[in-house]
């Protein structure tokens, strides 16, 4: 089961305090992720892409325009839309074991189903490669493993839309590749809609069906590029494919030059 999530002419303005001018995070962005689509959003640092994702999650409201989920406007966190935080360590519950963390979204279910749900959560842990770590605490795991727990927990919450906020930026390159492969596998299996926000252009191309490129401030949508590479993606074959390299060149150049021709500052 998956849903269509779209941004309809969305703008976000943070009001300036005192003498500071209002800060326009982005202006008039229209973008849509089709059901079961994997959409990536790339942009320079500080361009507000995380804010865009937070609006999709219902954690903040747009100043103008609206976020639409399956035809209905998003006003507060909708069920089925799951957010994977960049600071995964802070989103896990340090006082609970790994299995209890994963169980958290389904704990309010009736007692009778508990056993079945627990078995299901164990399975999610197995799917993310954490078999045997059920009774460990988050602080006993490495960064990559913690992110896997967050992913397992997201699975337990039965996502129709999964929002990933630079989820792999804080782990090393090899772990990143493993986690990317994992996410793709789960996405292929579960077919949820996925929206990934990242500054890593290669990651965006590797994972997504389409890549939306945001410009530097004042942020707007520069272009949306159709990736078109064959699935299932492979960390070696896909990354060495000439089309991958062309896409990388194009998108990176687009980011570096901005949409008005000169090199944008960092």
């Amino acid at each position: 089961m998956s849903q269509r999530l779209g941004f309809d002419r969305v703008s976000k303005v943070f009001e300036g305090t005192g003498n500071d001018a209002d800060f326009v995070a982005f202006d008039d962005i229209t973008l849509e992720a089709a059901p079961s689509e994997f959409l990536a959003v790339v942009g320079p640092s500080g361009c507000g892409k995380s804010t865009l994702l937070r609006m999709a999650a219902g954690l903040t409201d747009p100043t103008r325009g609206k976020v639409v989920l399956d035809g209905r406007p998003v006003l507060e966190p909708p069920p089925g839309v799951i957010y994977l935080f960049q600071q995964y360590a802070k989103s896990l519950f340090a006082w609970r074991t790994v299995i209890d963390n994963v169980m958290f979204p389904v704990e309010s279910a009736p007692r009778a189903r508990r056993g079945e749900l627990r078995a299901q959560c164990r399975d999610y842990l197995r799917q993310v490669g954490l078999d045997g770590f059920e009774d460990k605490y988050p602080w006993q795991l490495s960064g990559g493993m913690q992110q896997r727990v967050a992913i397992a927990r997201a699975l337990a919450a039965d996502p129709q839309v999964l929002l990933l906020d630079e989820p792999f930026s804080a782990v090393d390159a090899l772990t990143r590749m493993e986690l990317q492969t994992l996410v793709l596998q789960l996405w292929e299996r579960r077919k949820f809609t996925a929206i990934l926000v990242t500054h890593d252009v290669e990651e965006a191309i590797f994972l997504a069906d389409r890549v939306a490129v945001l410009s530097a401030r004042p942020t707007s949508l520069s272009e949306v590029i159709h990736v078109g590479l064959p699935r299932p993606r492979d960390q070696f074959a896909t990354r060495e494919d000439p089309r991958f390299l062309k896409l990388r060149h194009h998108i990176t150049a687009s980011l570096l030059t901005g949409n008005d021709g000169h090199v944008a500052s960092a």
């Binding site: 999650a57 219902g58 954690l59 507060e76 966190p77 069920p79 839309v81 799951i82 957010y83 935080f85 600071q87 360590a89 802070k90 989103s91 519950f93 340090a94 006082w95 609970r96 958290f104 979204p105 704990e107 309010s108 605490y137 988050p138 602080w139 006993q140 919450a157």
Partner: protein, 256 residues
Amino acid sequence: MSRRREPLGLGLLGLVSPILVLCIWELASRLGWTNPALLPSPSQIIAALFALMASGAIASPLAHTVGLFAVGYVLAVLIGTGIGIAMATSRTLYGLLEPLVEIVRPIPKPALVPVLFLFLGIGKATMITLVVLASVFPVLISTFQGVRGLDPVLLETARTLQVSRARTIVSVILPASLPMILAGMRVALGVGLVLVILAEMLAGEDGIGFRILDLERSFQIRDMFAWIVVLVALGGALTKLFDIAERRLVPWRGRS
């Protein structure tokens, strides 16, 4: 996960200065530098302490004080945590309660004794109220700050996972703020003990505070000091128990 054991020498180092002080004190007493009527020597106090323990007279007052303290402390923790969380999670409640808290908190609680006597009489109600009034504020303040200081990511996680407000408070906010709450409870432990002794002196019929006052009234200074030693030991034991409980309740402390 085993803890690294401290080298034995380091642990014993902590005993050096108290023993040194006791030796100097004993020497001063024997040389006549101190007034034995006001300050007995450590050996005299220890003798009185052993006599006290041997006679069994230690039981009733100790039980009375611990009982009274327990009731007041538990009440203070419940009230302090409750109000702290309420004020931290609800703007309305904060606005309503904050002036009240800020007015009562700075008042030295002993100053409220005559008022309490008037409304609650000279007895258990006043004593428990005194302990509660003194202990509630450290718990309240640290609970409030703990909840306020929670990482927003934690609360947003709960929101996106469709957790109800009640369940968020019980399953997320409370455990996450536990380290801070416990810090406040630790302070309240010390404050509460002081107040329970004071309360017993002013309004009690039994207990360590009552006994200390009674012995002072009949000038039995050695026995009085023996009870003070009991009191110090009680405070130490409670703190130790607290440490053990804390380690079990917040094993993740300082280890993210």
